[in-house]
């Protein structure tokens, strides 16, 4: 009983881990498949073809992801992997997946024979884009961007601040004047902000959302969200545009101008788009 319970728990845990690990993978976002059984096999094949580039943990999670949706065939698959000549449709699909893990060249052809030929065009496209982007990220080359941090809007909302925090707002509202910052290719707005704050001794607190792989800036220089009213917090713009998504997801280009600005009105008072009113 106890052993069975433990096994069941482990399986559940694996399922949860798979669900968490699967959401951000690019292969899932590119494929919009009619049935779940086919998409999962498609994912496994693409991941195995790009085996040298992708890291080991992601590979294992995606291969174990297949049994989660197609529960019945997989138990057969392990036994019927050698005797692939059996007739039923689900088992043949599973065996193709099993063989592709062992022999790489066959992987590109096997799914096409198993399913309708609409899918592989998109699924094979994913590895190629990966291969092209991978070398550029690995090469370190220094680039520069401009970074500025200000809280000018708070000058009009000083009465909303707590007593101890009023002294934190500078006279001109500039926490960090615009300066050129070097970064390596592939770094995000968040990386640059973190490094610069640390170098200049500016307190900064963030929280990481693991599900979305991004960071949220809670406060800079001890000025936190909600300090200047219920609609206040930190926002960033790059080249004058507010991207309105996670700063850890914004990959910088050379020459970008980043501005971190404190808003008291959901971005409406600093020239951003107010998405919430």
């Amino acid at each position: 009983m106890l052993r069975k319970g433990c096994a069941l728990l482990c399986v559940l845990l694996c399922l949860v881990l798979c669900a968490c690990g699967q959401t951000p993978s690019p292969a899932v976002t590119t494929t919009t498949a009619p049935t779940t059984a086919e998409t999962t096999t498609a994912i496994t094949t693409t991941e195995t073809t790009t085996a040298p580039t992708t890291t080991a943990p992601t590979e294992t999670t995606t291969t174990t992801a297949a049994p989660t949706t197609t529960a019945a065939p997989t138990t057969k698959a392990t036994t019927a992997a050698t005797t692939a000549a059996t007739t039923t449709v689900p088992t043949t699909k599973a065996t193709t997946a099993a063989t592709t893990t062992t022999t790489r060249p066959a992987a590109t052809t096997a799914p096409t024979t198993a399913r309708a030929a609409t899918r592989p065009a998109t699924t094979t496209a994913a590895p190629t884009t990966k291969a092209t982007t991978a070398p550029t990220t690995t090469q370190p080359q220094t680039l520069t961007c401009t970074l500025a941090i200000d809280c000018k809007t708070l000058l009009n909302h000083l009465d909303e601040l707590e007593e101890g925090k009023r002294a934190l707002v500078p006279q001109n509202g500039v926490l960090l004047s615009a300066r050129s910052v070097s970064f390596t290719a592939g770094e995000s707005v968040f990386d640059v902000l973190k490094r610069t704050c640390r170098a200049n001794g500016i307190q900064m607190e963030f929280s990481i959302a693991p599900l979305y792989h991004t960071a949220y800036i809670e406060g800079i220089g001890n000025l936190y969200e909600f300090d200047g009213g219920p609609a206040s917090g930190w926002m960033y713009s790059v080249n004058g545009v507010f991207p309105n998504y996670g700063c850890a997801d914004y990959t910088l280009q050379s020459g970008d101008v980043i501005a971190w600005r404190y808003t008291c009105n959901l971005g409406g008072d600093i020239g951003g788009r107010n998405n919430y009113s």
Partner: protein, 291 residues
């Protein structure tokens, strides 16, 4: 031979008022000076009121818990102007968060100690005397609840002993588990029967009926009135100052608030006297008997 404690001779209401003032003040007043006063008072009172228990309680229970609480705060709180170092995951560890953690650990420790003292002073009969008239059934219910777990554990141990005496030590783990479940089942059934019996017994005595009178062992003497006056004189100015916002203190972004002014020192002295109230009472008693 156990020495007679001065606070035991007080009226239960006065003792209760003292504990309410001490714990309430500890929880409300954020000023570090007052918090340290409370901690010192609680420690000394615990040493005096629960002799021989302090060392074990502090080392085994309270201090590790408080150290854990103090260290936990900087892990999750990154506010503060003084950055000490950076955690591996990127957020700063600030001096203020560390200070705040230490001060909240002090709060935790002093409240724990105060409640230990309360349990040592306010015996069962005092508690029943104080609350049984206002809320008879609730008092009885709480009393039974608090008694339930220790009594249940003792009874369970007796049952386990009887099992090993009758059947010998268990041979397999499976058997041990089965026996444990059997003992638990038996004890649970007995506890339910006991509860019914107790409630029947109390009802047959007319407990909680409207016209029922209570025999008072305690009455307000002149001594008690003096103590009440003293408690009021010590606590009212401090709580008044708190209500007026004169003892505000905040740790973020940097420690600020009521400075160490003469007034703050005066309040701290009053609150310190309040926290040492049982010891002062004891001292006056000793000197009164000696002369």
């Amino acid at each position: 031979m156990e020495r007679m404690r001065a606070i035991d001779r007080l009226h239960p209401g006065v003792s209760l008022l003292f504990f309410v003032c001490a714990v309430g003040g500890t929880l409300l007043l954020e000023h570090p000076l007052l918090r340290l006063c409370s901690l010192c008072g609680a420690l000394c009172c615990h040493l005096a009121l629960c002799p021989g228990q302090s060392k074990r309680f502090l080392l085994k229970g309270a201090l590790p818990l408080c150290a854990f609480a103090a260290l936990l705060n900087p892990l999750f709180n990154h506010r503060g102007a003084h950055i000490l170092f950076y955690f591996p995951w990127g957020n700063p560890c600030t001096g203020e968060s560390l200070l705040y953690g230490v001060m909240s650990a002090c709060l935790l420790l002093s409240v724990l100690l105060w409640f230990r003292c309360y349990a040592a002073v306010m015996t069962r009969e005092k508690g029943l005397f104080l609350f049984s008239r206002a809320a008879p059934s609730l008092t009885l219910l709480l009393r039974l609840c608090f008694r339930f777990l220790p009594a249940f554990r003792r009874a369970l141990e007796r049952t386990r002993d009887a099992q090993t005496g009758l059947l010998g030590p268990p041979r397999t783990k499976r058997e041990a588990l089965r026996r444990a479940f059997a003992a638990f089942r038996v004890r649970l059934r007995a506890a339910l029967t006991d509860a019914v019996e107790v409630s029947d017994a109390m009802r047959s005595r007319g407990y909680g009926l409207p016209g029922r009178t209570v025999y008072d062992r305690f009455s307000l003497h002149r001594r008690d009135r003096l103590c009440l006056l003293a408690l009021a004189a010590l606590s009212l100015p401090v709580f008044g100052a708190y209500a007026a916002g004169l003892l505000k203190f905040s740790y973020f972004p940097s420690p600020h608030g009521a400075a160490v002014s003469p007034f703050a020192l005066f309040c701290a002295a009053l609150f310190g006297l309040l926290c040492f109230f049982p010891l002062i009472l004891q001292r006056s008693e000793v000197s009164a008997w000696r002369t």
